[in-house]
């Protein structure tokens, strides 16, 4: 292990690139989450009705319908054929995320993300063990179970417990005991399973992962030759198994992070002091060779 690896995550990036560039996407992401939430809150709080409704279904400026496609899909398998408004809204959302990366929803929009991120921050601070780590595809199984339950009970089943819509609806309409569910997710991530909820269990994330399977917006490790093996990107990535194939690819292997699990959060771009990563589109196979590759790099990377 290099001395650099022992540095706190992101320290080197701050030193090399400055504070803003080392936190850019994190700040933009928080801003985006705040914007998406406040758009819904402007109405009830200040009487500015730009967006009405909730994340499950909304109406923007009185005309644009948006619908959560997973909620609508559950309704469909439960036996209700929705009206055109809801279908149009779901289609718009599906197309948007199919282009932008399904799980961009998770990192840029979802109101539970700050909760689980906070849990992870504290988890890190307290140096807790990573705990129960179910397989990544558990969430796909859960998604299947949710749809099956919807079909068998004839209800939109996940909405009975979905902490995402419950928190969002709670903030816009009134929380009730939904805060308890949110607290549960926080405690689960803190004590039971590191990055457990968003990373392993949430069926909404699983669904959006499927939606963005072939999405256009991708992170590339085009300058992977410059990687000095500090491991900061792995430490900061909520789905760090997506990095290796791109970063450790040899020769002409694609530098694109093509895993549908990638949430396009951009933190790897932030924390890399040598700017290995960048946002691009999926048809951009460029691999930049560094002018003077450090001779010891390949060995270090195997660490």
């Amino acid at each position: 292990m290099k001395a650099k690896t022992a540095l706190p995550v992101g320290q080197e990036a701050i030193r090399e690139k400055g504070w803003w560039k080392a936190y850019r996407f994190l700040i933009l992401r928080r801003a985006s989450q705040a914007v998406f939430l406040s758009l819904f809150l402007l109405g009830p709080w200040f009487g500015l009705w730009l967006v009405e409704g909730t994340l499950a279904g909304s109406r923007t400026l009185g005309v644009l319908p948006l619908t959560d496609p997973l909620v609508l899909l559950q309704g469909l398998v439960a036996g209700h054929w929705p009206e055109l408004t809801a279908l149009t809204g779901a289609l718009i959302v599906l197309v948007a995320y199919a282009l932008l990366g399904g799980r961009s929803y998770c990192s840029w929009v979802c109101p539970i993300n700050p909760v689980t991120d906070a849990a992870h921050w504290l988890h890190d601070r307290l140096d807790l063990p990573k705990g129960w780590q179910p397989k990544r595809h558990t969430r796909l199984w859960l998604l299947g179970a949710v749809l099956a339950t919807s079909a068998l009970t004839g209800t939109i089943a996940w909405e009975l417990v979905n902490p995402i819509t419950m928190l969002h609806r709670g903030l816009v309409f009134g929380l009730g005991f939904a805060w308890a569910l949110v607290a549960l997710v926080f405690l689960f991530d803190l004590f039971v399973s590191r990055r457990g909820w968003c990373g392993h269990l949430c069926p909404v994330g699983a669904f959006y992962g499927l939606v963005g399977h072939k999405s256009l917006l991708r992170v590339t490790a085009s300058k992977r030759a410059a990687c000095d093996g500090c491991m900061d990107c792995f430490a900061v990535c909520p789905e760090n198994h997506v990095i290796s194939p791109a970063l450790r690819g040899k020769g002409a292997e694609t530098p694109l992070i093509l895993s549908p699990d990638c949430t396009n959060c951009g933190r790897c771009i932030d924390v890399c002091s040598v700017d290995v990563f960048a946002f691009t589109h999926r048809f951009d196979p460029r691999i930049e060779a560094t002018p003077e590759p450090s001779p010891d790099a390949p060995d270090e990377m195997a660490a």
Binding site: E52, H80, W141, L142, G154, T155, I156, G170
Partner: protein, 266 residues
Amino acid sequence: MSPQRRRFLTDTARMAAGCVLAGSGLAWLARDARALPAEALRPPGALPEKAFLAACIRCGLCVRDCPYDTLSLAELGEDGAATGTPFFTARDVPCEMCDDIPCVAACPTGALDKGLTDIDDARMGTAVLVDQENCLNFLGLRCDVCYRVCPVIDEAITLEVSHNDRSGHHAIFAPTVHADHCTGCGVCEKSCVLPEAAIKVLPTRLARGTPAEHYRKGWEEMEEKGAPLVDGVIDLPDRLPGPGTDNLAAPGGFEPAFKLPEGASQ
């Protein structure tokens, strides 16, 4: 069996078991969610509860478009209705029965049925005068408030006059609900002057019985046809007690206490 195969099978079995467990928990909650409390009324045009829970995405647009702030979304653990679904409590804020039915217009999925175009056809519940013992009109007073405020006055609620046995020389104006016309808006319940309303809107399943299918109301069918239901039936005289019939003055018989009007068939 190879270790990989064994592992794959164990993992799959585990995952499946976990999902069945999670699914069952969810299904249990879903069953629970169907038990809508009697006070919680759905907005106009709402599909029957079971279908409603498959259709309502809990977006709250109906709540936003209700000009009287009648509707609210059920909060977890507080309101009893399935979390996030719209409902109203008549005694708090009743439905004002807008002509343009904005809540139905706002619904993106059809959980509130666009087929409802005339608000008078809405059936959110059925008003029932649940407590005749405390209803002022039943006590012989002229409160009449529920009757007066009813948006479908003289159709959904009428005042039926009967003799007041207590005073002996007054009338009782009994507020009487006619379910065929009652929309379940709840204005009557809201307006009842008693501390606890004597007239309440209940879900129709609680408010009403259903007629037995095998039971035919002969008098209605006969009126509709304008003639006896069976052709060529010989209408035999009813065997009434009295002179001219064959069952009187027989040993053990009795004389009638009344006289039939002249010309009545015997």
